[in-house]
């Protein structure tokens, strides 16, 4: 860190301090930096040949497009739902609030594969709860895009809420009460007062959700099934290509996924200081 050199002297034994730093840096290096950089290294072993080869493969292009569509749809759903639930949790009191609060963290705790299986049980076309009825009405959920969007939305569900809730709590409802006393209705109060207050939290939550949604593997793989490549998303494709000994394509797609995620995190890092200054 750049600031380490100019830090004021603190109590503590110097070698312990250095050992601790070494430990943290080593941990991050062996767990995160080294493996990720090896993916990049393998991707660019032959310059940009790997990437351009991969982008010539229609399967890869289709998978990337599908991943993008599913991720954006899931993020939009989580954005609307997340802001609504956050308002509900912070501004209103109702029986069962604590249970709802705990339920929101379930997607973080449960394995995505379980999420996928659960969705298949409820929505599959033959013996699911709603599946047959939906299919009769022309909407196939499982083994199709709607199911994949649902699975992705489920997995990324807490991210927007957990960003927005603390900001809403800290903001308090003073400003909203003031707006009401000045004649604003619920929608005007939300749009003119609440929304500007939680704007950065929403942006942060959306970016995190997007990164998470792009990379979702387990839940989507179970729900998508294997319909001749039609429902193969980018992470699933990486696994398939890797197992079919097309390592170079696998590395290239993996790199693109990692790059997109890192890009999201960089956007977040750039947004954070702005938020702190406010």
């Amino acid at each position: 860190m750049a600031s380490a050199g100019v830090q004021a002297p603190r109590d503590g034994i110097p070698w312990v301090k250095w050992l601790m730093r070494l430990l943290v840096i080593g941990y991050l290096f062996f767990l995160v930096a080294w493996p990720t950089s090896l993916v990049a290294k393998n991707t660019f072993a032959n310059g940009f040949q790997g990437i351009s080869d991969a982008l010539d493969d229609p399967d890869v292009v289709h998978a990337l497009q599908l991943s993008g569509q599913v991720a954006v749809a899931a993020v939009l759903i989580n954005l609307l739902f997340g802001v609504g639930v956050s308002l509900l949790l912070v501004r209103f009191d109702f029986p069962g609030k604590r249970i709802l609060n705990a339920l929101i963290d379930v997607p973080l705790a449960v394995s995505p594969v379980v999420v996928g299986l659960a969705l298949v049980l409820v929505y599959n076309g033959r013996y699911g709860w709603f599946g047959p009825w939906l299919e009769d009405n022309g909407l196939q959920v499982v083994f199709a895009k709607p199911g994949m969007i649902m699975a992705t939305a489920f997995v990324a569900l807490p991210l927007v809420i957990r960003e927005v809730v603390p900001v809403l709590e800290e903001m308090g409802d003073d400003q909203e009460q003031a707006a009401r006393s000045l004649g604003a209705n619920a929608w005007q109060t939300f749009r003119r007062v609440t929304l500007p207050g939680i704007k950065w939290a929403i942006v942060y939550g959306v970016v995190l959700s997007l990164a998470r949604s792009l990379g979702e593997f387990g839940a989507v793989k179970v729900v998508a099934g294997n319909v001749g490549g039609e429902t193969t998303t980018a992470p699933v494709l990486v696994q398939q290509k890797y197992q079919n000994f097309q390592q170079e394509t696998a590395y290239s797609v993996a790199f693109m996924l990692a790059f997109a995620a890192v890009l999201c995190l960089i956007v977040v890092a750039l947004l954070r200081p702005k938020e702190a200054k406010k």
């Binding site: 003073d174 400003q175 003031a178 707006a179 006393s181 000045l182 004649g183 604003a184 003119r192 007062v193």
Partner: protein, 323 residues
């Protein structure tokens, strides 16, 4: 009568915040709701504004039945203790908020905002954000924002409570002058009896969810309805079984006062221009006396000497309850 509160009761769980409160607040006046913290005065104000709802009872504002009206339709200006400024809007935008909600023409809004900012002496801060203002300036901005919509009544919830003593004193004098200019019916909540006595036309004393007394500052100070009001409006001491204020006790070094109690000075404390003397009477009462420094010097008071104390003729005194 501008605001009619009838038989209002409000409970938070087991806690009774207001118990069968009935008050009439007159049009065009500056009324203080005075009482100790947790006594229910803020709750009453919030119920008048529609920010809380009463469990029982009715609210009538300027002849309009308001009990079931939402806050936004009551046309009430509300000023919060912690300002509740819109943090992301400039000072001018804050003040314009209510007018923009009402979809007034742009030039009318600009004109009115300018007028109001002049009124609260913030015209040079129009384009600043609230975070760049001091506490006193923020509260003046909040006041301008509340006045912008030309409310029928202006309600202030401990408006100066979060400010330091000097600014608080300045602002309350300013509020009084402002009220004399604008003449909008104003109700403000305070736990500071000096603030209430200095600023208001009428004071409603509220304690433990009930109205203890309603009257002008002089009424309350000179004719307190009960011991609580007397004690809350200022210090009280007991001489010969009479409850009086310490500055209403005469003290002399010779027994010239008829019916005076004899005692010895146990303590003398000088605070600025004032001298506080504690006298232990032979009857066993501990009497507190307040007098000016020059008066005390003239009497050559000292700890341990014998003095005679009695209530000043013409002062307010209440008989102490026996038993």
């Amino acid at each position: 009568m501008s605001i009619e509160v009838r038989n209002v009761t409000k409970k938070f769980g087991d806690f009774v915040a207001l118990e069968d409160v009935t008050v009439s607040l007159p049009t065009g006046q500056l009324t203080a709701l005075l009482g100790p913290s947790g006594g229910g005065k803020s709750t009453l104000l919030r119920i008048i504004a529609g920010l809380d709802t009463a469990d029982e009872g009715t609210i009538n504002i300027e002849g309009t039945e308001a009990t079931h009206l939402p806050a936004r339709k009551r046309n009430v200006g509300f000023v919060f203790q912690h300002y509740a400024v819109f943090k992301h809007m400039t000072v001018a935008k804050n003040v314009a908020f209510g007018l923009e909600i009402r979809k007034r023409p742009k030039d009318e809004i600009a004109h009115r905002v300018d007028e109001l900012l002049r009124l609260v002496h913030l015209q040079q801060f129009a384009h600043r954000l609230p975070s760049q203002l001091s506490g006193g300036q923020r509260q003046r901005m909040a006041l301008a924002r509340a006045l912008a919509v030309e409310p029928k009544v202006l309600l202030l919830d401990e408006p100066f409570g979060a400010l330091d003593a000097k600014v608080r004193k300045e602002l309350r004098e300013w509020l009084r002058r402002l009220h004399d200019e604008v003449h909008v019916t104003t109700v403000f909540v305070t736990h500071d009896q000096e603030e209430a006595l200095e600023v208001s036309d009428e004071i409603v004393v509220i304690n433990e969810g009930r109205v203890e007394q309603i009257g002008s500052p002089d009424d309350l100070y000179d004719r307190p309805a009960n011991d609580f009001v007397m004690g809350f409006l200022g210090e009280v001491t007991t001489v010969n079984g009479h409850k009086v204020r310490p500055h209403d006790v005469d003290i002399s070094t010779t027994p010239i006062l008829a019916g005076a109690a004899q005692g010895t000075i146990s303590r003398i404390l000088r605070v600025g221009f004032q001298v506080r003397v504690n006298v232990l009477t032979d009857a066993g009462e501990e009497v507190a006396v307040e007098l000016t420094k020059s008066h005390a010097n003239a009497l050559e008071l000292d700890e341990g000497i014998t003095v005679w104390v009695s209530p000043t003729p013409g002062s307010v005194a209440r008989m102490e309850k026996v038993g």
